[in-house]
């Protein structure tokens, strides 16, 4: 026997279920008047620094069908690579950019759209810079524990090639699952595949 460490266990995850909108985006599902706006619906204002970008994201199941009841949250650094968080010790992030967004996927198309800015580069633990990226967290009915992944940018070929997280992906054919595609209108298109040949790399992080 030894002394007890007295640690607690993390509360077990349970699926967000089909009605996650009621709790997290009530205005989106026509519960009006409780909150003035859905949290995380607007990420930038006219004072936010940085290049405006649009991300169109979908989550696809094992048959390739987009989920119409998923919810996605994103978290990212500002244009200078600083996070708007108390744990950010390197400087003060843009006060006009929280860096966090939340969207439900459309109930008909399965798409959700984030209007945000392109993040700057953030250092890895050893000081090397990671490529610009946005963290994604995905929940839905049928997903028992929130899925964590990242979106990288297709035009950042050099930065992506030296990114220490992408470098950890053993099967290089899977790296493109984390890199958005550029649509003709300039928007970034990011399809998250839950299963199959194109299954997105998800993190245990």
């Amino acid at each position: 026997m030894a002394q007890a460490l007295n640690r607690l266990k993390e509360s077990a995850s349970q699926t967000a279920g089909p009605y996650v909108h009621i709790g997290l985006t009530p205005n989106f599902c026509d519960i009006k008047g409780v909150y003035p706006a859905d949290l995380g619906a607007t990420m930038v204002n006219e004072k936010t620094k940085g290049e405006r970008i649009t991300i169109r994201a979908r989550v696809l199941d094992g048959t390739g069908t987009p989920l119409k009841d998923a919810l996605i949250e994103i978290w990212q650094a500002d244009a200078d690579g600083l996070y708007n968080s108390p744990s950010e010790m390197r400087g003060t992030a843009d006060p006009h950019f929280a860096g966090w967004g939340r969207k439900a996927t459309d109930m008909d198309t399965g798409e959700c759209v984030f209007e945000t800015i392109k993040p700057g580069r953030v250092p890895f633990k050893n000081g090397r810079k990671m490529a610009p990226h946005i963290s994604f967290w995905i929940v839905a009915r049928g997903i028992n524990i929130g899925l964590q992944t990242r979106m990288y940018f297709p035009e950042e070929e050099a930065a992506n090639a030296e990114d220490p997280v992408l470098a950890r992906i053993e099967h290089k054919v899977r790296v493109p699952t984390l890199i958005a595609q550029r649509a003709a209108d300039g928007a970034y298109v990011f399809d998250i595949h839950l299963q199959g040949e194109k299954e997105t790399v998800f993190f245990d992080i």
Binding site: R7, L8, K9, E10, S11, A12, S13, Q14, T15, P18, Y19, V20, H21, I22, G23, L24, P26, C29, I31, G33, V34, Y35, P36, L39, D61, G62, L67, D69, W75, Q76, Y83, S85, P86, S87, M89, M107, V122, K125, N126, G127, M130, V139, R141, G142, I143, N144, I145, G146, V165, R168, R174, L194, Q195, E199, T200, V201, F202, F203, D204, I205
Partner: protein, 251 residues
């Protein structure tokens, strides 16, 4: 660094403890049918946290409306209230080290007393309550404590097996200090025999993990002639101290 590295008043920057994936439900749980086509099949890529996961947004108490933590009234017409057994749900958000988590955003949603959700995709024949919306939110105080008022939700049938029912439950979304702590779970009610029959509950492999999602009836916190109380503590991932963090050299 500060003079008092043990102070928990200054922001913490350590990585979060590894998630115990054997304690949480696995992705693929065929008795919960929807998980079959929505479960990743390849191994997750395990990585120590980077700044992108250690950090997270802050939600200030000033964003809260007066009735955000009162589901009995936040959707009700003036002077009216939601129908159902009046309850208070209270508890504490802690991390795995047992420290209270101040400033945690909690969002909750639930069915009404008849087991009906206010949602256009919901087809259960139980009646809607015109005075019940079903959502609420609050932010924990300095010690990590929270409380809200609601009505006890009803159990409801759902399409999975021919005759599957969800036990009465409240959905919780929890935002701690780092994006890696993000968690959604459900709260169940002490003494409900339907908990142990539910395919969604049974996605959790460990009985003790289920028991820690069951709120306890607390007669001492009950308000006489008004509302019963249930205690529900939530635990988020703990984090390592950055006191003796390894620094790689030569980079």
């Amino acid at each position: 660094m500060s003079a008092d590295p043990f102070s928990n008043r200054k922001p913490e920057t350590g990585a979060f403890f590894q998630r115990d994936r054997l304690w949480h439900p696995p992705a693929f749980t065929p008795d919960y049918k929807t998980s079959v086509l929505r479960s990743p099949q390849k191994a997750l890529l395990s990585l120590d946290n980077t700044l992108s996961e250690i950090t997270g947004p802050v939600f200030g108490h000033n964003m809260l409306g007066e009735l955000d933590n009162d589901l009995i009234h936040n959707f009700a017409k003036p002077g009216e209230s939601a129908i159902g057994p009046r309850i208070i749900v209270y508890g504490r958000v802690l991390d795995e080290r047992g420290k209270g988590v101040p400033g945690a955003l909690l969002e909750f949603w639930q069915a009404n007393a008849g087991g009906r959700y206010r949602h256009k995709k919901e087809g259960y024949l139980a009646a809607l309550d015109p005075n019940f919306g079903g959502c609420g939110r609050t932010i924990t105080n300095e010690e990590g404590n929270y409380a809200f008022r609601t009505i006890q939700p009803g159990p409801y049938p759902w399409p999975n097996g021919v005759n599957d029912w969800r036990p009465a439950h409240i959905h919780f979304s929890v935002f701690g200090h780092g994006f890696a702590q993000r968690l959604i779970t459900q709260m169940y009610f002490e003494g409900d025999p339907m908990i142990w029959q539910c395919p969604i509950v049974k996605t959790i492999p460990d009985r003790a993990a289920v028991e820690s999602l069951i709120a306890a009836l607390d007669r001492e916190a009950t308000i006489p002639m008004d509302a019963r109380a249930y205690k529900f503590d939530i635990v988020l991932r703990g984090r390592r101290s950055s006191l003796f963090e390894n620094r790689l050299e030569g980079n």
